[in-house]
């Protein structure tokens, strides 16, 4: 086992009085003097807070562990314990081999020093030896694309250059175990792509990677093992899909069902839902059929009734639509009084990985909207791990892959 963690817990104190975790000598001394005279000492009221509670797990060589959980679930605390920055309150961790930890890119950059000097400094801070840095120096400079600014103080760097340099150094670390916090969350798309590619490369070399992210998509595509933390406790550990399942169920990443009763004298919409279980998974991989079911009641049949399903991206930009007029079954859907159920299957291969909104509208053709309320479901589509990490697009319609080589 590469890493074995046994019952690790971490306790913090939260002070109710507005006080920092550190104090001042003057206030401490004066409170001692007060105590001495008063005798009935009232201690500083504080609350104990367990950032992590009894977490046990072990990972083997070559495992890529993805840690997911909401803000405050204890993810960063766990990383800090594994990288020795903070110490657990109880329990112990056994780690084999050299750990490199990347909680932030460009840690320890000094603004007054030049790019060249900072490469040496930051390299040493991340645990590289001088000869290692010298050997990789040219590579780092090329990767960061800062050749002409090498002797400029870092304070004159643009934020993009700053970040590229930081990541370039980190990317040339050669650790047996790499611990990465959400460094990918920052930076432009191209930069994120570079980061992902680098992680992929480490994967293919069989390195052990521990990766924390809010982005379930990158966890699914990078990791083979998952860990789901909630409020400091380990909820699920093991297969990455299983952990994502559990995470999805407990969090509103997706919104698969709508229930209610809206409509007019012609039609009442009762529910709209997405099929929530696909091969035992609670989330959608690209390629899965996405089945939408609409339950409604016809009160007065009218052949001008239309149900309309549209897909929007997470920024509420319109992508695609289908309405019941397009179907030969249109007349049948609205002909008889009583309860009906209609289903529509979306081919998710048409979409890139990303988060989508599904909107249901109901109207009388060329007359008026029947449902004013917005009926919106939310569903993310993920890419499966074996795509080789070549994820260039995010959110949008795919044109497919009908390329032909003509000459």
């Amino acid at each position: 086992m590469m890493i074995t963690a046994d019952n690790i817990s971490k306790k913090y104190r939260i002070y109710h009085q507005p006080k920092d975790s550190y104090g001042t000598l003057v206030s401490t001394l004066s409170s001692y003097i007060k105590k001495f005279f008063k005798r009935n000492s009232e201690s500083q009221p504080y609350e104990e807070f367990w950032a992590l509670r009894d977490v046990c797990f072990s990972i083997a060589e070559g495992d890529r562990l993805g840690i997911i959980g909401k803000n405050g679930a204890g993810k960063s605390t766990l990383l800090k314990i594994l990288s020795r920055i903070v110490q657990p309150t109880t329990g112990h961790v056994k780690i084999r081999k050299r750990v490199s930890c990347l909680l932030e890119v460009g840690t320890g950059f000094h603004p007054e020093l030049t790019g060249r000097e900072n490469i040496y400094l930051n390299g040493a801070i991340l645990g590289m030896t001088k000869s290692e840095i010298m050997r990789k120096f040219d590579e780092i400079v090329a990767f960061a694309e800062i050749t002409q600014f090498l002797d400029t103080p870092v304070k004159r760097f643009s934020s993009g250059m700053h970040m590229r340099l930081g990541f370039a150094i980190a990317a040339h670390l050669d650790p047996e175990i790499l611990i990465v916090d959400e460094v990918l969350a920052v930076g432009d798309l191209q930069f994120q792509k570079k980061c992902l590619n680098k992680l992929e490369q480490l994967n293919s070399q069989g390195r052990t990677v521990i990766f924390v992210s809010h982005d379930v998509g990158s966890v699914l595509s990078l990791c083979n093992k998952g860990m789901y933390l909630e409020k400091g406790r380990l909820v699920k550990f093991g297969d990455v899909e299983m952990c994502v399942n559990a995470y999805m169920q407990n969090n509103c990443i997706q919104d698969y069902a709508w229930r209610g009763a809206v409509g007019d004298e012609h039609i009442q919409i009762m529910s709209v839902k997405l099929q929530s279980d696909i091969n035992g998974r609670k989330f959608i991989y690209k390629g899965d059929p996405v089945v939408v079911e609409v339950e409604y009641e016809i009160l007065k049949s009218n052949e001008n009734l239309i149900l309309d399903i549209s897909i929007w991206n997470s920024r509420h930009q319109f992508l695609a639509r289908s309405h019941t007029f397009a179907s030969s079954l249109h007349a049948k859907l609205f002909a008889e009084k009583g309860k009906h159920c209609a289903s529509f299957t979306i081919d998710s291969r048409q979409f890139h990985e990303g988060e989508y909104l599904l909107k249901l509208e109901c109207s009388l053709h060329q007359q008026r909207q029947i449902v004013d309320e917005e009926i919106i479901l939310k569903f993310p589509i993920y890419d499966q791990a074996d795509h080789g990490g070549k994820k260039i697009y995010k959110e949008g319609i795919s044109l497919g892959s009908a390329w032909v080589h003509k000459a």
């Binding site: 000598l25 110490q87 112990h92 056994k94 320890g108 007054e112 020093l113 801070i125 991340l126």
Partner: protein, 285 residues
């Protein structure tokens, strides 16, 4: 509660790292040794930054003692007419000024050290002791620049006693150890109590007057001499003057013994205090 990190080396060169919630740590020195390069890099960074920011560059290391000795020579040598054991007065002041500047700069720097490096402490692991140690190392560079100054002045004025001069490394070592001990205490205390940063400069100013820098130890009234020697700087400055000029002050040996004793006590207690505090730095900083 402290925690323990144990590193178990195996025959094939791989090792286990064990992080445990326990007190005491045996392998701390081994860990410190593994991070020796980072120590040098941090010291190198601080030297670079200091000389880049200072307008005078390296001359800064010469200017400060030079200005101080001009002032002291004028006040104590000319106006007050204090004795200097037949040594050229500016040179006499400089010999005391060297260890004083080194130690006081260290006190001022180390009390800021961990707090100023907070982003490092909360994002990367390394033995935290490296930070105050790197600052001592940085100030040593300044110190040697000033040593060049006294060498030139001493050789020009033929004031050195070359036999005792050979003991200079001993006094320098003592001075470094004292600074390290004080630095360990101050750097960890500042993490706990931020206002120490504001108190320290005041004490440093005070310390300059209760140490024999601008004047000779010999002018202290005899009944106060022992009390005066409780300041470990007295022993060290006496040592420097003896090494440079062969001056034997009254109470020379007792003051050196006191300095040795205080240095040892500060170093050991500072080390232990730092070690106890070290595990919580990332939580509190």
């Amino acid at each position: 509660m402290g925690a323990q990190i144990r590193i178990t080396m195996k025959e094939d060169g791989s090792y286990y790292l064990i992080i445990e919630a326990k007190k005491a740590q045996k392998h701390y020195f081994a860990d410190l040794y593994r991070y020796k390069e980072l120590l040098l890099f941090l010291a190198w960074r601080d030297v670079l930054v200091r000389y880049k920011q200072a307008f005078f560059g390296v001359a800064w290391g010469v200017f400060r003692p030079l200005l101080s000795i001009i002032a002291f020579t004028f006040i104590f040598g000319r106006i007050a007419g204090f004795p200097s054991n037949e040594v050229y007065y500016p040179l006499f002041v400089l010999a005391g000024m060297l260890p004083w500047l080194f130690i006081s700069n260290n006190v001022l720097d180390t009390c800021q050290g961990l707090v100023n490096n907070a982003p490092l402490v909360s994002k990367v692991y390394f033995p935290r002791m490296i930070i105050p140690m790197a600052q001592v190392l940085m100030n040593l560079v300044d110190f040697f620049v000033s040593v060049i100054l006294i060498l030139i002045m001493g050789i020009v004025t033929h004031s050195f006693n070359w036999l005792t001069f050979l003991t200079l490394p001993l006094w320098i070592t003592l001075m470094i150890l004292l600074s390290t001990g004080v630095g360990l205490w101050l750097s960890s205390l500042t993490v706990l109590y931020r206002d120490i940063r504001l108190l320290v400069p005041f004490f440093v100013q005070f310390g300059m007057f209760i140490s024999p820098i601008g004047y000779s130890f010999a002018i202290i009234p005899e009944k106060w001499q022992l009390l005066y020697s409780l300041n470990p700087l007295v022993g060290i400055i006496n040592g420097f003057r003896w090494a440079f000029f062969g001056i034997v002050d009254p109470l020379f040996v007792p003051s050196v013994i006191i300095a040795l004793f205080v240095t040892g006590a500060l170093l050991i207690s500072g080390f232990n205090f730092f070690r106890n505090m070290e595990n919580t730095f990332a939580d509190t900083i």
